[in-house]
């Protein structure tokens, strides 16, 4: 079952477009470049760079079981790296892509999400507001001075995700570009959010009345959601 087939295709097209605009840089995952992990709170006064937050942000996690969709170990950066930025505040997009062998979509979502949410970085505050697809990072002057950058952040995320048993391949895309990256990704983001919300609703509410469900159309479009729905309905009927 492929929940994110269409958004993944769009993301590929987006990366190709960024490449043609000469704004795409790519790095390879190196586990030794991962940043030390430690829960931190960075105050405004201690901040060297602020990513996302009020500046605008986008956060997504997508997964697939299909081979050849994820470029393993690739860290893509669209826009300036932290040490070549011109501004203190930058918009921020963070997209995590994973390939693996999954039995249950919700469990997969939970594992991937919790792994990403629990990533604590020394000298960096990170907050994610999943229902609004928002992300907010504050990088302290100390962390920046010690060499923290988005490549190292990417390596930390991928290292954590690669440790999950079902995960086979991982990739991350960051965008700090001020020219409208968020609006270019808006249709993908909307689709991903609809799929995740529909899935959460199925697991949270167990409402099987499709006629009255606001996500009816999303389920019609995304085959994977229909499969989850049918499986959950079967499980519930089996219990009654």
């Amino acid at each position: 079952m492929e929940l994110f087939k269409e958004p993944l295709n769009h993301l590929n097209a987006y990366l190709q477009d960024a490449d043609s605009r000469n704004v795409l840089r790519q790095f390879s995952y190196n586990p030794f470049s991962a940043w030390p992990e430690q829960s931190s709170l960075v105050l405004q006064e201690e901040t060297a760079v602020e990513l996302g937050g009020a500046c605008g942000s986008l956060f997504m996690i997508l997964w697939t079981g299909e081979a050849g969709v994820i470029r393993p170990g690739r860290i893509s950066l669209i826009g300036p790296e932290l040490d070549d930025r011109a501004q203190v505040k930058l918009p921020f997009t963070q997209v995590v892509l994973v390939r693996g062998i999954y039995q249950d979509e919700y469990e997969t979502y939970r594992h991937l999400r919790d792994t990403v949410f629990d990533t604590r970085l020394k000298g960096v505050s990170t907050r994610v507001w999943p229902d609004r697809q928002r992300v907010w990072c504050r990088v302290s002057r100390e962390a920046l001075g010690q060499g923290f950058n988005l490549t190292r952040y990417g390596c930390t995320l991928l290292k954590r995700l690669n440790n999950l048993p079902a995960v086979e391949e991982t990739e991350v895309i960051f965008a700090t570009e001020t020219v409208n990256e968020k609006s270019l990704l808006a249709p993908v983001a909307e689709k991903v959010q609809d799929i995740v919300e529909a899935m959460l609703k199925m697991y949270q509410e167990m409402n099987f009345d499709c006629g009255s469900c606001e996500y009816n159309q999303v389920c019609e479009e995304v085959a994977g959601l229909k499969e989850i729905h049918q499986r959950l309905q079967k499980e519930r009927n089996g219990r009654e």
């Binding site: 829960s39 931190s40 709170l41 105050l43 405004q44 006064e45 937050g53 939970r110 999400r113 919790d114 949410f117 505050s125 907050r127 994610v128 507001w129 999943p130 229902d131 609004r132 928002r134 907010w136 919300e197 959460l200 609703k201 697991y203 949270q204 509410e205 409402n207």
Partner: protein, 247 residues
């Protein structure tokens, strides 16, 4: 390690004044990072410090309850939303981060949301050297709505009979809930040694400090000037040893 100080007492005795003096003193100590929480629904500390309230904890609670009711989110996503919004709700001023609790509005039982909020405030508080809470009345309110444990409970009173009795009551109730480590009385608007001795003799509470009647504080209070701009004065001198007891 982070320390939590809660300032309690009867209304109008000077809790907010002491909290504002502490905030002003924290600015002097740049090595200390402090979370200052206005837990009084009237929001007096925000006015005393001239720090705007972005979103109160209770407004945030309403948002999260609405998200929980929509069924489009699960527990972890709600907890993450609370963390994010809490961070956004902080008003920062140098080494101070200010948070207002706001007016409580009960909308049925949303224990899970209340728990998320309290845990998030506790988690946030751990990242600061000092958390200062200007409380509404008793420590049980702090305990229920803000955080489970307080290190130092400062009971503020003026020299009035009622003020002292309320401070004793708060102490008694708080002792029952065993949610603080130390407590002590701070007398406010003391005009003479004689008044101080009389008040000390009329209460069983241990006196840990006192603030004099202070013309500068009165002037700032009546003109609405920020206490963060308060010049050196007798009240600041009297409050300094109380704040730095641990630092």
């Amino acid at each position: 390690m982070s320390e939590v100080i809660a300032i309690c007492g009867k209304g109008g005795v000077g809790k907010t004044t002491l909290s504002a003096l502490f905030a002003r003193l924290i600015l002097e100590r740049k090595e200390i990072r402090a979370l200052v929480i206005d837990a009084d629904p009237t929001g007096g500390l925000s006015l005393a410090l001239a720090l705007p309230i972005k979103t109160t904890v209770n407004e945030l609670r309403k948002e999260v309850v609405a998200a929980a009711k929509s069924g489009k989110s699960d527990a972890r996503n709600l907890a993450a939303a609370v963390d994010y919004r809490l961070m956004e709700s902080l008003t920062e001023h140098h080494n101070i981060a200010f948070l207002a609790v706001g007016r409580p509005e009960e909308e049925g039982c949303f224990c899970q949301v209340n728990t998320f909020l309290r845990r998030s405030i506790e988690f946030l508080s751990e990242k600061f050297d000092l958390t200062l809470i200007d409380a509404e009345a008793g420590v049980e309110q702090v305990n229920r709505r803000v955080m489970a444990n307080v290190d130092r409970l400062l009971l503020v009173s003026d020299l009035s009979f009622k003020g002292l009795r309320v401070a004793e009551t708060v102490q008694r109730v708080a002792s029952g809930s065993a949610c603080f480590r130390q407590s002590g009385l701070v007398l406010n608007r003391v005009r003479s040694e004689e008044e101080l001795s009389r008040a000390r003799a009329s209460t069983t509470l241990p006196l840990v400090g006192w603030l004099p009647e202070d013309e500068t504080v009165y002037r700032f209070d009546t003109s609405g000037q920020s206490f963060l701009d308060l010049p050196e004065c007798s009240s600041l001198q009297a409050a300094r040893p109380l704040l730095v007891a641990r630092f």
